[in-house]
């Protein structure tokens, strides 16, 4: 197992390197640049614009720019934000906790709700509730996150005034922060929850038809024990893989949720950095999310092996 983890960690290096090249190209190749925002200004001459580009090192060939960036990121220098001249690491680190809090909370909410729902529909539910839940979870994965957010704000913040319409709450006041976190976390959790529930449902259905489940039932084990200990443990194996892929998806949802609820996280940082083409901040934010995704995938693969005794990592 130790060797497997080490090998996967080593394998993550070329993967992240590839991602960084891909990202660098996608972000830098489109025409235009950070100086564009001054282009319309009457006081900025063409020479000024050229000087801005020169100072930012944007006149170098792209591969040179990339190598400079890569050397920086490896030595802990992620560059400087074009907007306020602060280090990118500072700009990202001050936003990271908010995003992680939002993502982790909604992931937990999604799992806590999805597991019983998926198991219920695959085992005890009769036709009608199963049908209703099928329709509801399908709606859940079909509704755009930003719209759920807008509706929640309109109704619960506007009409009823139960929740604040945005922000993170007063620092230090845990209750107030939880109050602010509740709505965005639930909104973000909805899509994942519905997806997980559907996935667990079909995974459980498949397992419940296995011979060993019939054996367990036949030897008189209580239904509850069979469902949780025999069926769910096996059904959860593909779900773990899904969890590994969930991080980038949650990141996408988080961006939209953060914008709707004025949540000061990485997603908002990305939308703020689009205007003015804040290349270093964008690169940093995307690399961080890719890094989290790669690590998440690795953890999922390791858990996959821990849960599934059929897999031996050391040959």
């Amino acid at each position: 197992m130790g060797r497997y983890i080490l090998r996967r960690l080593l394998g993550a290096i070329p993967l992240l390197l590839g991602i960084s090249i891909l990202l660098f190209a996608l972000i830098h190749l489109p025409p235009g640049g950070p100086a564009d925002i001054y282009a319309g200004s009457p006081t900025a001459s063409a020479a000024d614009l050229a000087r801005i580009n020169e100072n930012l090192g944007l006149n170098d060939p792209l591969p040179v720019q990339y190598l400079k960036w890569l050397r920086g990121i490896l030595t802990g220098d992620w560059g400087v934000s074009y907007r306020d001249g602060r280090p990118v690491t500072t700009a990202i680190l001050e936003r990271l906790p908010a995003t992680l809090q939002l993502m982790v909370t909604s992931l937990v909410i999604a799992l806590v709700l999805a597991v019983p729902i998926g198991i219920y529909t695959a085992t005890r539910a009769t036709r009608f509730p199963r049908y209703v839940i099928n329709v509801l979870t399908m709606l859940g994965i079909s509704v755009p996150t930003f719209w759920t957010g807008l509706m929640v704000i309109m109704f619960f913040a506007g009409r009823l005034g139960w929740i604040p319409s945005g922000g993170r709450g007063r620092p230090g006041d845990l209750l107030d922060q939880a109050h602010h976190l509740l709505a965005p976390a639930l909104v973000l959790a909805l899509v994942s929850m519905a997806g997980f529930a559907r996935y667990i449902h079909s995974s459980m259905l498949e397992v419940m038809n296995e011979d060993y489940i019939r054996t367990a039932r036949a030897k008189g084990l209580p239904f509850r024990v069979v469902v949780w200990r025999h069926a769910f443990r096996n059904a959860s194996i593909p779900v773990i893989t899904l969890l590994g892929l969930e991080i980038p998806r949650l990141f996408s949802g988080a961006l939209v949720t953060e914008v709707v609820f004025s949540w000061p996280g990485i997603g908002r940082l990305i939308t703020e950095s689009i205007l003015g083409r804040n290349y270093p901040v964008l690169m940093g934010a995307f690399m961080l999310s890719a890094f989290l995704a790669v690590i998440g995938n690795l953890i999922a693969d390791i858990c996959y092996g821990l849960v599934n005794p059929q897999i031996r990592y050391d040959d």
Partner: protein
């Protein structure tokens, strides 16, 4: 089991969104199913039929928008701004006095076309890359599999957001961008299928009589993988429509005056307090469309592989 679970599970990985796994063995597709049989099973699924009906309805609405729309979707009329739904304007008017119903109909053209178009392109890209990777194996597979892994590690919405914000966005470019960030699911799926098909006996037979590789890929193997691709393609349309609406909602999708369901919501969020209908209607239309397509996809999957059906 192999030592590389990230590759081994590619064949049982979900195509797109959070769809249930194909059969654990991952060979669901090799069993041929008659087309009539599929339709007969599909027909018995009320939700799938409902999805089909909704989509037909919206599709017809989009196609015949110029005939059906009661008003010019871009006609500004400040005297009638922000009217709630009434007899003259069934779904009310927006901040510039434009008729919401007319705009929804015309927006449907753009949103559906972009959704279907980008899904089609994504399926072509995904199928080609997946087939080549699965069939040739070795370094070709290694390169493509890594590319898939890389793209899957990036968050789709922020990525599409940045690319479209940095480009002069047109419907066609938006379609390409959406395709570029959503082909990976199909590629993984097709790759998994081809990894199994390439060692099938009929493949060996074809190869032994000297059939060219490309002919084997497209004539002999691809038809065996069509069913899961069709299901994945359907779900991709739903996915693309969702992403398009997110981008437009954030203000970086299609630019006004072109109406899309997403950018109508972008406008609507400023009037949540006094003109709630603006935000409600376009959101409902997006949700119903996406759900309709998802129901069709689900129905197709169950019709193609009845073992997955709710028992």
């Amino acid at each position: 089991m192999t030592t590389e679970p990230s590759l081994a599970r590619a064949s049982v990985a979900p195509p797109v969104l959070s769809e249930p796994p194909p059969a654990a063995a991952g060979v669901a597709s090799i069993r041929p199913v008659g087309r009539n049989q599929v339709w007969r099973r599909f027909r018995r699924n009320p939700l799938a039929l409902f999805g089909l009906a909704v989509l037909t309805f919206l599709g017809l609405g989009a196609i015949f928008a110029p005939v059906l729309a009661p008003y010019d979707p871009n006609a500004v009329n400040p005297y009638q701004a922000l009217q709630p739904p009434n007899a003259e304007h069934w779904l009310g008017t927006d901040d510039l006095g434009r008729d919401v119903l007319s705009r929804l109909l015309f927006a449907g053209r753009v949103s559906l076309l972009v959704g279907v178009g980008s899904a089609a392109i994504a399926v072509v890209i995904g199928t080609l890359l997946g087939a080549v990777a699965g069939y040739y194996g070795r370094w070709v597979d290694a390169v493509i599999a890594r590319l898939i892994d890389m793209m899957l590690s990036l968050p789709v919405v922020p990525l599409a957001l940045v690319i479209s914000a940095f480009t002069q966005i047109t419907p066609w470019r938006l379609t390409l961008i959406l395709a570029a960030v959503s082909w990976m699911g199909v590629a993984r799926l097709v790759r998994g299928e081809f990894l199994e098909l390439r060692v099938a006996q009929f493949t060996e037979a074809a190869r032994s009589i000297g059939t060219p590789n490309l002919r084997i890929i497209f004539v002999h193997l691809l038809p065996n993988a069509v069913s899961p691709i069709v299901v994945a393609a359907t779900l991709l349309v739903a996915y693309a429509i969702l992403i398009e609406s997110s981008l437009s909602f954030l203000g970086f999708g299609l630019q006004p005056p072109t109406a899309s369901w997403g950018n109508m919501l972008f406008n609507a969020q400023r009037y949540l307090r006094n003109a709630a209908w603006l935000a409600v209607f376009s959101g409902v239309v997006i949700t119903v469309t996406v759900a309709g397509i998802n129901f069709i996809g689900d129905g197709l999957r169950e019709a193609i592989d009845p073992r997955l059906k709710d028992r």
